[in-house]
């Protein structure tokens, strides 16, 4: 599968955008605006080039404030007429005063052609009122309101465009797939009195972002995008988020029993969603996100199997685990129970594992950074930023796991492990400072390198919370078991059930918040800025211009 084309590209990168610039003859503008609003894929903006024209006085902004206030007055009197009409019984005839006022105001509005239909409708309305057909009058009054509302909408759009002589210039973004149809529509609506230009986004442009995450992953998209929308050149983080989020959650909320409960909750929510029905705000959240709970539940069950925990009982199932070796260190993945380890006073294996999780996660983030740079064909930036950063990070992690405490013994470090120091630290640091220095200046490079090194080390240590929360989860669930010790069986069951509920709720919420935090603060800082612009197409809504 080739990234850059087809559905893989659409899933991980925002949709390709095209810039449209059109000039149309003024009398046709309202029709063009209606077509644009109907298409729902046109995001208006003013490019820096057009702002330059504005400064030089080649074009000027369209002043519609007078027309707008007139239209507002007309809308007001239409509303007044509608109220009068609703208060009128079928025998008494309403006074046409407000409608007449509206009529009078229509006389001095420009754009006669467009408002011709308005007049017709108004006339129709008067006629049906005179003849006593109140319902017909009501419906034509409603139509009249829509028509005037549409006109108001296109006036508002006009206020953000530029005018030169008798022509209106407007610009906007459209997803590449819709561009041809939209151009045709503009030409057809203006009966040929328009020039339309289509261009690819330039270096300095910031196109709005449209991401198409598959429907099943929408939950993760919402969580990731709550941090900030991806900008046009970034990847859609939701896809990666949906993989790492449940894994890290499961490593902290590790319990087979609690995982099963989450899984059942998720399945019940999916079923409730299928059945349909109305739910309150908070229950609605759960019902909408069934799949999310299923994924968290499965991950918790796997975590529980690794640590041998079921509803806080350790020793019922034997923890499954294996070790992998990095440098001189064996890192145990599962195979022990956290609470039992705490009682024996041996926390080092867990801490090593937590750091290992952090190292993997951050390395993944840096790899994504590299991939983004490569896909955008910024090879020089890739060579000076993510590649040395990744190299340095992996080198540093390898050194820590190989030398352990010896890493603080500076003399020993340089005398015995000089090759490792040069390969793992000196070369990538030099590459980073030199490369970035030549591109952006050495002060910039030095501060970037310093920050990269310090923040990456700090971020990795921050994954120590995986261990702390795992311990506090295990401790809290085993606390209720110890409390219920020696009581009669029904009381014991009640205490443990209450404890399970509390752990599921409070501990689940805390672990969730910390998982989000690890992703937003520690992980996103490696590859994601989230400074995208929301795609806000022109649409005719209730209030007109949306």
């Amino acid at each position: 599968m080739k990234i850059g084309s087809g559905w893989v590209r659409d899933m991980i990168k925002p949709l390709k955008m095209k810039k449209i610039r059109a000039i149309t003859y003024r009398p046709y503008f309202h029709r063009v605006a209606a077509v644009l609003a109907e298409s729902g894929v046109f995001h208006p903006f003013i490019s820096s080039e057009a702002e330059d024209w504005l400064r030089k006085g080649l074009v000027r902004r369209v002043d519609v404030s007078k027309d707008l206030s007139k239209i507002d007055a007309i809308l007001g009197s239409i509303d007044k007429a509608a109220i009068e009409l609703s208060e009128t019984s079928s025998i008494d005839l309403p006074s046409f005063k407000s409608l007449d006022e509206a009529m009078k105001m229509l006389e001095d509005i420009e754009d006669e052609g467009y408002l011709c239909r308005v007049k017709d409708l108004l006339e129709e309305c008067r006629k049906s009122i005179a003849e006593g057909y109140i319902d017909t009058a009501r419906s034509s009054l409603g139509k009249l309101r829509d028509l005037v509302g549409t006109y108001r909408f296109s006036l508002e759009f006009m206020s953000s465009t530029l005018e030169v002589c008798d022509c209106i210039v407007f610009e906007g973004w459209t997803p590449a797939g819709y561009v041809e149809k939209l151009c045709e529509d503009i030409k057809r609506a203006s009966e040929g009195y328009s020039i339309v230009e289509v261009a690819d986004p330039g270096e300095e442009d910031h196109p709005p972002t449209v991401i198409e995450t598959p429907r099943t992953l929408k939950v993760f998209e919402r969580l990731a995008v709550a941090y900030g929308l991806p900008s046009y050149h970034e990847f859609n983080p939701a896809i990666f988020f949906s993989i790492t989020f449940p894994i890290i959650f499961g490593l902290m909320f590790a319990d087979v029993g609690h995982g099963l409960l989450l899984l059942i909750l998720g399945l019940a929510c999916i079923r409730a969603k299928r059945m349909g029905g109305e739910y309150g705000e908070i229950i609605g959240y759960f019902v909408d996100n069934g799949l999310f709970f299923v994924s968290l539940g499965v991950s918790s069950i796997i975590g529980g199997l690794l640590y041998g925990d079921i509803f806080g009982f350790h020793g019922v199932i034997h923890p499954i685990g294996f070790s992998i070796r990095i440098g001189n260190t064996w890192i145990p993945i599962g195979g022990y129970n956290p609470v039992a380890m705490l009682e024996h006073g041996n926390l080092m294996p867990m801490f090593k594992f937590a750091l290992f999780v952090g190292a993997i996660h951050i390395t993944l983030g840096l790899l994504i950074n590299l991939a983004v740079k490569l896909v955008n064909r910024e090879y020089l930036e890739a060579l000076t930023e993510p590649i040395p950063w990744l190299w340095l990070y992996v080198g540093l992690i390898y050194m820590v796991f190989t030398l352990k405490y010896d890493i603080f013994n500076i003399v020993n470090l340089f005398s015995q492990h000089l090759t490792m120091v040069i390969v793992a630290l000196v070369i990538p640091l030099a590459l980073m400072i030199l490369g970035k220095g030549l591109l952006e200046g050495f002060m910039e490079a030095a501060s970037f390198t310093f920050e990269a090194v310090i923040s990456t080390i700090g971020n990795t240590v921050s994954y120590g919370r995986v261990m702390a929360l795992l311990l506090s989860h295990g401790m809290m669930s085993s606390m209720f078991i110890q409390l219920s010790h020696g009581m009669s069986l029904p009381v014991q069951i009640a205490v443990i059930a209450l404890g399970t509920f509390l752990v599921m709720f409070i501990e689940g919420l805390i672990v969730f918040v910390h998982t989000v935090r690890l992703h937003w603060v520690e992980w996103f800082s490696k590859f994601y800025k989230g400074e995208g612009i929301e795609f806000k197409p022109l649409r005719i809504g209730k209030g007109g211009y949306v």
């Binding site: 705490l342 024996h344 006073g345 919370r465 929360l469 401790m475 606390m479 918040v513 935090r517 603060v521």
Partner: protein
Amino acid sequence: MIEDLLPVLSVLIASGAPSIGAIYAITTVGTTMAGAGTEKPEILTKALIAVVLAEAIAIYGLLTSFMLVTKIPTITTLADSYKALIASLIMGISGLSAAIGIARSGSAMAGAMLERPETFSKNVVGVVLAEAIAIYGLLVAFMLIAQIGVAPIPH
């Protein structure tokens, strides 16, 4: 004599100090949220995060004191009771300081969301970073408590 008092005292500190911090943070953030919520109720779900994190501090204190209680029978030497005392102080002080951070940044976040709800994602970082201090305290306290009553590992 003192080695009998110190462990019990440490249980008091470990559960007391974080509780004071948590209740300070919850009342501060809670009152701001109540005010902000009358204007814009839809921000409350997001602002609740600060209250949850403040409550978490009390839970960390509870866990630390619970661990200390289970360790009391094994405390026989003065050195062990010092470890218990210091572990509780670590949890207590870090919990209190985290609570101050959450109280101020959490209530400021709720207020800021009134005007501009999109500032949430950046402002929540302050709250979460403040809470991290309590987690670090918990981590260190756990490590220290784990050493109580355990024979030193021969090198």
